[in-house]
Structure formats: structure tokens, C-alpha cells
Symmetry: D2
């Protein structure tokens, strides 16, 4: 396919790279030069304006947050000048409300809008093993499926209402955050009793909670080592806030999320914003005076 | 081995049955006649007093809670008259503090004390697939290992301080409760947006959270079906309270546990005490007015 | 003074009325005709456009929220065309962040900006007994003090940084919400034990907690009567959210606010959004199954 | 009256002193010699055994907690040997459950039992200005009213079910704790914005929250000065736990209490157990990294 790619952070550049490897033609644009050089070496054509990237058969965006996307897409006029019939696939984790707003705006400008946030951190993106949660018009998703196949290990089609994909992504991240928090508290409890947190981790990951989440974050907490960050606490906090906003929209109390928010703020207030999400475990330990 | 077994609820009778199947000689005693008949048919000898069961090479107990064990073991004088050198294996989920008290009392009476709470519900117990968390004197555990092998799929030796096994069990159940609560909240969030909770469950169990816990409890929540109870909310609440008590002992805040306690009380107040632990999901839905 | 008044809800019209009574010349504008008639009878001149009200010596605004003020003031171009040297006194409860943004914007347009949110409900406003928290340039506050004297019983000058007044107002409302919540929980506790909540209320308001807040909200809770609403739960939720946003800005966990937010959402989800703020007590009772 | 007094901590000795001043005959007993000397100088007769104090027309007890009272009253056999017709007035803050147990036990031994916990710290006790919450048989309370009049400024008769007085006392202390916590959080919020917490305190105590509670605890928090302790955080935590236990008994969620418990544990874990209850404000500040 002939695609554009906007937003080349760690996640975006890994995705664009995998699209290139799969033989797609990729025009990339990024606000800062940053990672464009490496992609150029992989065969991407670097374009000077977002408009040049926002063209072809489809354009993928992976910007930091609502504000960044709004700046370039709406305030910057990108959407207004887009060629009719283009498919815009937004893979970033944005708010459900903004995703709904984008759905209406794209329809207005004759551009197909697909929300396709992903599960997986940069290492998973680099390996092309992301899980993609895609929602939007079925035919639009069909058209970009070849790129999804290059980027992810599986595409979960979750209906034709784009923001549903965003809600699902936020709900998943909320569960992730809760698992980290809970292991952190449990680790503080067992180590308070003089039990090695690794022993506890070994038991629970071998019995109740298999899989990489508890194993990975649990190990960081048991070792009290939060750097290098695979996923920053600051970003985790952003996602918890978005989950709370999505809950606000449907009058749903989310008490675990509220607690996560406060604890992540505690982490940030103690200099942990750029540490790994697992730093929630450090909050639990600190509150116990350890 | 020649063993006694005290406490024949669903868990206890399944364990005793597996010990019998493995060829051990088992004397069983229960306050009420209840399940003794079935065990007698399997070859157990039914004894009339707890003293007759509290003899042989080792005795296993699986009573409901601290109070039940205290009543028969201490107030009832069972421990005082126990033959020296006997090994008492307490498999029930009791408080860490009582376990520590029992450690001292057993030492005083020349009885070896092993704390060996288990992970697994009655169906797992029936299949002989429990995970046993055992702590106490190494040689005492060695002696009862043949029975553990009949009862469980694996024995986790977690040191020589008996209450450590109890703390680990409580920490594990706390994590279980949090996973249920969090999925319940997430399900309320996604279904509030008109997304089928089954679809969400399918995604997260295929990606972040494999394994039977999220799958099993998640299905009950997605179906909003909380009966028959595999593990009652009332018992889950008991365990959360014990985890909080264990945290009290080492000055460790456990905010997720606090929240679980309140929500489980909410469940009980709405008639859910005898429903499955998954009923936490119903609390989340009810709070959202659904 | 010659003043304009924008936003004539229950609060705004009571304030404007008191300004009239004190002899000030008042031009009023409201989006809907609503309460303008009564004010006209009191001597106000009704103007057709917000621009006509946004003139004279000072203009007071009391709009519903950030969005309403942004719509008329910024998007509607009101600020741009304002006469240089005008003082704009914003008495509404808006976010601290928006207040900071307004400070910069007003400076840019040569308009003095005073943030002056108030403590007190409509009945207090009608009586001219509000407490006014005013922040901004000292000379600007001096100029509008005669109007403050007509509207409130006391003006608290809280410095020259306008958003400080907003933060203080939000912190006060947060404390109010917590007092209601806590009495609601305590009432559920004592009535669960068969004790009349009125008896409890009588004791605490005569000892620890004198003053109208506990008395007023406590009586509604003890009577389980939440209508008519003196201050709607929906507005209380808005303010709690603004307090949380203000806390976000300075990385401050606010766990009681988090809990209030969830309980107010619970209230709204059960049809209580337009009931009195005291409906938090009903959430506490409902969660206890009563 | 001819009365006995058991338990001479700061509160107890102040009460006994006021009974003496009012002309009552007081026999005092304390486990340690401690404060008996000062009371002897005031005219009390010091007795060697609790039995000698547990006699006369009425006996008042003010021991530290359930365990201390249980040890002397039940385990020590004091109640069994008590003269029939004696009135026992227990003024300590004990659990509602133990108070109910004591009601039954006293009835069994022909001793009248009055639960009469008090509102007020040692300075208030010394001034004879306590508020006494009294429950029990009306004629028993009538008989001891002259002593209550010497000890307190007012006796609140709250019915004939003794534990109701305990529930009310716990509910009041719970509200107190929440007021402190909430002001602590609000102070962290405003000071995060660079606003002096004293200014905030001045506003709210002059408007929404008059009275000594907010003023007293608020000043300590605004000054971040938590010593000397007028009421220790450790004791506050004890009372919050008792409130939670009382809520457990009637299946009532008490989420604010849960949060207070965690924050008080945090305080204790950071060496604040013997600091003033106001140290909750320090937890809020610390969590914000200040």
C-alpha cells in the first residue's frame, strides 16, 4: 500500500518500520527530525509537511495525546484539506470523547476514520507483535488490514463505532495498572513480614496469574528497580485519567481507577514520572515506610 | 501414612478422599456427621472424638476459621493431650497472628506445627491439584510430604516460619479479589459504552491476562451470573479482612484491600454473601445504576 | 457604580438584584430572557448583546462553567472588543487553569481581571450575605468593592493571583462535600445499629461541629429528604472534579476527593443529579442495603 | 457518692480529680502507681486491688482498650466477685461488640452496666467540660448523674442499650478524623498553589466550619507542627478501626474510614504514631512530595 505515517515516537517509528519491511510505500512526517533518518535508511520517504503524509491510500497517526492530534489535524487544518476517500487510522491512545468527535469530523470531510489503538510496548511494536483493537467502517478496516498485518500479530475487530476501540484500550490499561498496584501492595505486605517478594511472585505467576504482565512488572517491583522505563508512569497516569473520563461519560464509578490516579500522582510527586509504570510498587513500599 | 483429618467441609473432605485414594490410613472427625459417610465408604475410619483423630503420625485440619480451630484445639483441650512428636498440619486459611500463636503453643506441647494453606477451590481439591504453601520445620514437612503429594499438584516450601505460609495465602487471595474487582469495574465501563463485556474479556484473556482466574471470574461477571458459588463472597470478605489484619501487623497501608472490603460489604448488604466472589462485578454494575 | 452583569441564574440574579438595591446602575444580559424581567422591574436595564453589558466601569459575570464563559468571552469575541480599563469580575466557580488562562488573556486586552468566587447558596446570595473570595490587582478590587459590599457580607482579599481565589473556593467546596459524605456514612453506621440519625446529628452539632453546614446537610440526610435541592449534586460533582484538576496541576493526591467523585457519580447514576448535594447520604445508605 | 475509679491515665485521673473536687468519696486503683499520688493529695484513697475499687455505690472505669478491660474485669475475675447492685460505668472508648458482651455479662452477675464514653481530650477532661454519651438502664444513669455532673458539662442520654453510646462515640471520632484528613488534603492543595494554608483556614473557620475542631487541628496542620500530641494518632487509628468493626457488624461500607485507616497506618509507619492526630495532614503533604 501507499501510506503516510504521522508521529514517529518509539511506537510510531517501530510501526512504520514494520510497514516498510512488509513492502509498503511509506511517507513519514514528524514534527521534529528525530527518528526520520533511520526510517529513511529503511526506505521511507521523508516529507516536509503533514499534508504530504496525509495522502495516498491511507494515513496512520501515532501522536502523543489528544492535544497533539488536535493541533495538527484540526487546528492545523490537515483534515480540511485531506483528499476525499482517504482512510485515517489513528493508533494512538486518545480519549473516547475525542475519538467520537473525530468520527463526526472525518465524516464531514469525507475521510474514513478508523480508531486502532494497540496493546504492547515499544519492544512488542518493534517485533511486529502488537495486538490491534480496530473499530470503524468495515470496508475501511479491510483496506488497511495489510498494514495491520505487518504491524501486529492480531487485529481485533471491535465494531464500527471508532471510540469503542479507545474505550477497550483504556479499560485494558486500567486493568494493567490495577494488576501492578495490587502486586505492589501485596509485595509490601509480604516483605513487611520478612518474606522475599520474589518467592511470592514465583508462586502467583506459577498458579493464579501466568503471563508476562505479572511476571514483568512483578520482577521490577520485587527488585525495586524502575529504570529503564519500558512504559513511563507519566503515560500510565495519562491513560488512567482517560479511563476515568470515559467512565464519567457513562456515569460509572471506577474506584480502583481513582486510587490508581492518586498513587500515580504520588509517584510523580516523588520524581517517578519518567520511571516505569511499575513504580506504583515503590509508592506502596514508601507508604509502609520502607 | 497413618493420619487424622479434622474438618470435613467441601475442601477437607476432598483432601481426605485423595489421601485415602493414595493408600493412606485416615481417621476422620467432623463436628457434624455430614460428609463422613462418603469418606467411610472410601475407607476412612470415622472417629467419635477429635482426640482420636489428633493422633497417629500426623493430623491435618481444615476448619472454617480462627474461631473454629481455637474452639477445638485450644479451648477444647485437644492440643494439651496430643501425643508428643505428632505433626499437625493446618491447611485452613487462618490469620497470620493466630498462626504465630499456634506456632508457640505447639512448641510448648511438643507437637510439630506446619501451616499449609492451599490455592484452589473445591473442584481443584477434588482433582488433587491444589497448590500447597507449606511452612514450618523442614523435617516435619518432609514427613507429611507423601500426603501433600496425594492432595496437591505442587508443594511450595516457603520457609520455616509457619505464619509466612498464611501471609502468602492471604496476599494471593487479595490479588485474586483485586483482579475480580478490577474486571468488574472495567466491565461496567465498557458495557456502559455499549460494548459487550464478553468481547472485552476475550481480548484481555488472549493478551494481557491469560489463565483461568480472569477467564473464570470474568465469564461470570460478563454473564452477570453469580450462582452457583464456587467460592462465596462471604469467604472472600473474610480473607480480605485477614489480609488487612496481616498488613496492620506490619504497618502497611493496603488501599486496594480497603476498597475490596467496602465493596464486599456492599455485596453482602445486598444479599450477595452466599453468591460467588465474582459478585464484586455486580456491585460495580449496581453503582453505575445498571 | 455603572456596571454590567452577565449570567442571571439563581445566583447571578440575586447578586444583580442586591447591586441594584444598593443604588448601582446595572445593565444585564442573559442568553435566555429568563430572569431579566424581574430585574428590569427592580431598575436594571436589559441589553440585547453581551457587548453592551461588557462595558461601563466594571462587568460581573456569573456563568455556569468554563465552557459557558469561554463561549461568550473568547469564542464570542467579547473580550477582544472590550473597552480598555474595564474591570471584569468573574464570580463563577471555574477551573483554576482557566482562571490563569483568563488572567493572561485579559492582560493582553487591557482589561483588569478579578476572580471572585463566592461561598453561599442562592438563599445566602439573595440575602446579600455571601462570602466573596477576591483575587487580582489590588486597585481593581478597590474599584469594585462597593458592589462587593452590596452583594456579600465580607470580601476576603486573597492576593493578586486571580486563580488563587478559585483554588480556595474549590478547596472549600471539597471540604463541604467531605463533611456531607462523612456525615452520610456515619448516619448509615448509627442507623444500622438502630440509633436515630437525628440524635447523632444533635450531639455532633452541639459539640464537635457547630455551624450551619453539618446542621443543614445533616438534617436532610437524617430525614432522607433530598428535595428541593438547595445545591444540586450535579454541581457538587462539577466542583469536586475542578478540585481534582487543581490538584493535578500541582501533583497532589486528593484521595477523599477521589472517593467523593465516585460516590457522586453513583448518586447521578441513580437519578440523584438534580437532588441536593446531601444525596451523598443516600449513596451511603444504599450501599448498606437500606 | 461513694465511688471507685479504675484506670488513671490522663483522662481517668482528670475525671477522678473532678469527682473529688465535687465532694465525692473516691477510691482509686491503677495497675501502676503513676498518678495515684496526686489524687491522694486531692483526697482520694488509694486501694491495692481492683476489687477494693470495684465496690461502693458505683465504679467508673477508664482503661486503655478492650484488652485492658477484659484482662481486669473478666479474666481477672473482678466482675464475678462484684457486689450485687453495684453500677459499673465504663467511660472508655471500647468496641461496640465488647460493650454488648459486657451488657450480658453484667446482667448475669447482677451489676448494672452503663456505657458512658466521652467527647473531649485531656484538657477538656481537666476542666470538667466533657460531653458524656451515656446509655444503659435509666435508673442506673440517674444514680451516677451527680458524678457525671462533676465530670462533664453535659450528659447526653442516648437510650438503654449500652453499646449505642459506644457506636455514637466511634461515629463522632470518625467524623473528627475525616475533618482532619480533609483539611490536610485541602491544605496540601492550596499550599501546592502557593497559598498560605493559614489564610485558607481563616476563611473556612470563619464561614463554613466554625468551632474548635477545624480551628485546632487546622492550625497544627497549617504550622506542620504535630507535637506535643493532644490526642495521639495511634489512638485515633484505634478508634477508626473500632468504627470499622462497628460498621462490619451491620454490613455498612464506610469508605472514608477505610481511607483514614490507610493514611493513619502511613503516619504510624513514618514515625507519627505518638504525634498528634493532626499528623494526617503530614501524610497528605508527604504524598504530594512536600
Amino acid at each position: 500500500m501507499d501510506i503516510g505515517f504521522i508521529g514517529l515516537g518509539e511506537m510510531g517509528s517501530a510501526m512504520a518500520g514494520n510497514a516498510l519491511k512488509a513492502g509498503h510505500t511509506v511517507r513519514v512526517w514528524n514534527r521534529s527530525a528525530g527518528r526520520t533518518k533511520a526510517l529513511a535508511e529503511q526506505g521511507a520517504s521523508i516529507v516536509d509537511t503533514p499534508e504530504q503524509a496525509f495522502s495516498g491510500e491511507a494515513v496512520f497517526s501515532m501522536l502523543a495525546d489528544d492535544a497533539a492530534l488536535r493541533a495538527v489535524l484540526i487546528d492545523g487544518g490537515l483534515l480540511k484539506q485531506a483528499p476525499k476517500g482517504l482512510v485515517h487510522v489513528n493508533m494512538a491512545t486518545i480519549s473516547a470523547a475525542f475519538s467520537a468527535e473525530l468520527t463526526a469530523l472525518h465524516a464531514q470531510h469525507g475521510v474514513a476514520y478508523v480508531a486502532a489503538p494497540v496493546l504492547g510496548r515499544p519492544d512488542v511494536a518493534a517485533a511486529g507483535k502488537l495486538n490491534i483493537l480496530a473499530a470503524g467502517a468495515s470496508d475501511a478496516i479491510d483496506r488497511v488490514q495489510p498494514v495491520f498485518d505487518a504491524i501486529g500479530q492480531k487485529t481485533w475487530r471491535v465494531g464500527d463505532t471508532p471510540q469503542h476501540a479507545n474505550v477497550l484500550k483504556l479499560a485494558a490499561n486500567f486493568m494493567l495498572a490495577s494488576a501492578i498496584e495490587t502486586f505492589g501492595e501485596a509485595a509490601a505486605l509480604v516483605s513487611g513480614h520478612g518474606i522475599d517478594a520474589h518467592a511470592f511472585l514465583d508462586i502467583i505467576t506459577s498458579t493464579l496469574f501466568p503471563g508476562p504482565v505479572y511476571q514483568g512488572y512483578g520482577t521490577m517491583i520485587a527488585e525495586r528497580r524502575y529504570e529503564p522505563a519500558l512504559f513511563k508512569a507519566r503515560l500510565g497516569l495519562k491513560d488512567v485519567r482517560l479511563a476515568m473520563a470515559a467512565a464519567d461519560a457513562v456515569d460509572t464509578p471506577l474506584p480502583v481507577a481513582s486510587l490508581l490516579r492518586d498513587n500515580l500522582i504520588d509517584a510523580v510527586a516523588h520524581g517517578g514520572g519518567d520511571k516505569d509504570f511499575a513504580v506504583l510498587g515503590e509508592v506502596a513500599a514508601r507508604r509502609a515506610g520502607r
